[in-house]
Amino acid sequence: MTAPTTTTTTTASAAAPATATRAKKRKPDRLQIFKDIGNRPFAFTAGFSFLLLFAVWSLLSYTESVNPVFLPTPDKVFVEMFHMLGTSEYWHHIGISVFRVSAGFLLACVIGIPIGIFAGTFKYGEAFVEPPMEFIRYMPAVAFIPLIMVWAGIGEWAKILLIFIGCFFQLVLMVADNTRRVSHDLLQASFTLGAGRWKAIETVLIPAIQPQLMNTLRLILGWAWTYLVVAELVAVNSGLGYAIMKAQRFLNTDQIFVGIIVIGLLGLISDRIFAFLNRRLFPWA
């Protein structure tokens, strides 16, 4: 759409200079590579994208071109959602799921971040930590489920442990990478100002990685939600994943949709919180 506009502009100005001023007033080419488009167009396009998704869903379901058992109509899903969010039982599911995600994620952070910083700071640390992590990382966390059930039974710890395993190894490697990317010049500057090894870690490395670390945590939290659902598909009687499983048993696709949308919203909210914190905590970045 934009490409022809540009072409006409050039031909017009080349052919008749008199029209050049008029041609200049044309809208600037917005599809340039990496070009900023401003906040409003961005929000508008994002909203449009959601609307389009919704439109396709409506089209397929209201015309019944897909069996309503497989694809419920939007109104049915939303009515069901308001109904379910009105029950305390569903809020209990949400609560227990949020608890599991937070516990697994925080556990991975508390253990993983220091190890990651250690591995990123010292070459010995890298040699000691990373090769085994790289190895374990490619083992699918889901494949650990039978083992986890043997180790931790089917209680709360089993779910937390699965989320932990899913997050921990990736987190360590990503934090190590964040640490290695800190500008060596900044470190050297601190040395020439009198900082020793540990002071440099404390006053340069750790502050320097923080904004990137927050992004890493955002990503990892997304994975924590994925592993939550996996964890709750097996041998549980509470949580959002369980609610979805139960709905599937009775072919209540609308309830499955509600579960998926609620998890999506929770993920979105936690992601926004991270983005907000990032802006507030690190105004210098």
């Binding site: 900044l186 040395f191 020439t192 900082a195 923080q210 105004p283 210098w284």
Partner: protein
């Protein structure tokens, strides 16, 4: 004890109550301050397959409070030499001493200003300047006095609470100089600090640096590839050549101590510039 007297003059700081605050740690009876001696220094990068001689047989002495610049083509090892003096790189042979003590590793008594911007982006301008004093354990009140003094020296008082990303390139380097000096180093090592600045800013920075040097009195070893800059700033210009990096010649700069922009028009200035230019052409 002349040094102690000088530093006291240089930083006539007062706290809120009007009492005099000593901004400096006591100069532990160091009669001589900031004398660099480099002798027989060479630097070789060796791998299994190749051997690259970056510096060969460097002998150089920099006197207390002297301003020496090193000029040379890129790749002549001048930055490597400075980094060795800073303790950031290791030498292969030879000896570097500061006031008679061998240099091993980086330290606070050798402050450095880098070519790239190395302010800590998470600290404000003031906090950047106070970084070194804070490491030394100087109290908040005294640190405040030090940063106030240096903010005034670099004329950036109004930017005390700004973050580095809000500063222009020239401002960033001014803060970097202040940060290095706030630590009261015996020598100030500068690795093409104005290399990335535009011509006009560069001239302003040179004048500012000389002003600061007059006031703060430290030994300065300054690397540049700009002949004009070298002659304008220094009392002595060391010319280096490449392949392997070595000192070709040293020139005393016979110009008025007070370097105003008019100095650039003096015949001596132009003659020295021309001579250096010819030497560097080879």
């Amino acid at each position: 004890m002349e040094a102690a007297k000088r530093t006291a003059e240089a930083a006539p700081l007062q706290d809120k109550a009007g009492r005099s605050v000593r901004a400096v740690e006591t100069d532990k009876a160091s009669a001589q301050r900031g004398e660099i001696a480099i002798s027989g220094l060479s630097k070789v990068y060796e791998t299994k397959k190749s051997r690259f001689e970056a510096l060969r047989g460097i002998d150089l002495n920099v006197r207390t409070n002297e301003f020496v610049t090193i000029v040379g083509p890129s790749g002549c090892g001048k930055s490597t030499l400075l980094r060795i003096v800073a303790g950031l790189d290791e030498l292969s042979e030879g000896l570097v001493t500061l006031d008679g003590e061998e240099v091993i590793g980086p330290g606070a008594e050798r402050g450095m200003v880098f070519q790239g911007y190395t302010l800590f982006p998470w600290l404000t301008v003031r906090e950047n300047i106070e970084y070194g004093p804070k490491l030394k354990g100087i109290s908040t009140l005294e640190r405040r006095a030090i940063s106030n003094h240096f903010l005034k020296v670099i004329k950036l008082e109004s930017f005390a609470n700004a973050y580095p990303k809000q500063l222009s390139g020239g401002m960033k380097q001014r803060v970097a100089i202040a940060r290095a000096l706030a630590n009261r180093p015996k020598v100030l090592l500068m690795d093409e600090p104005f290399g990335a600045l535009d011509a006009q800013t560069k001239l302003e920075m040179q004048e500012m640096l000389l002003e600061v040097w007059e006031k703060e009195k430290t030994t300065v070893l300054f690397i540049t590839h700009d002949i004009d800059e070298a002659v304008f700033l220094s009392q002595r210009v060391v010319v280096m050549g490449a392949g392997p990096g070595r000192i070709l010649k040293t020139f005393d700069v016979m110009l008025p101590a007070q370097r105003t922009p008019e100095v650039r028009e003096l015949p001596e200035f132009l003659a020295l510039k021309r001579e250096l230019g010819l030497l560097l052409k080879h």
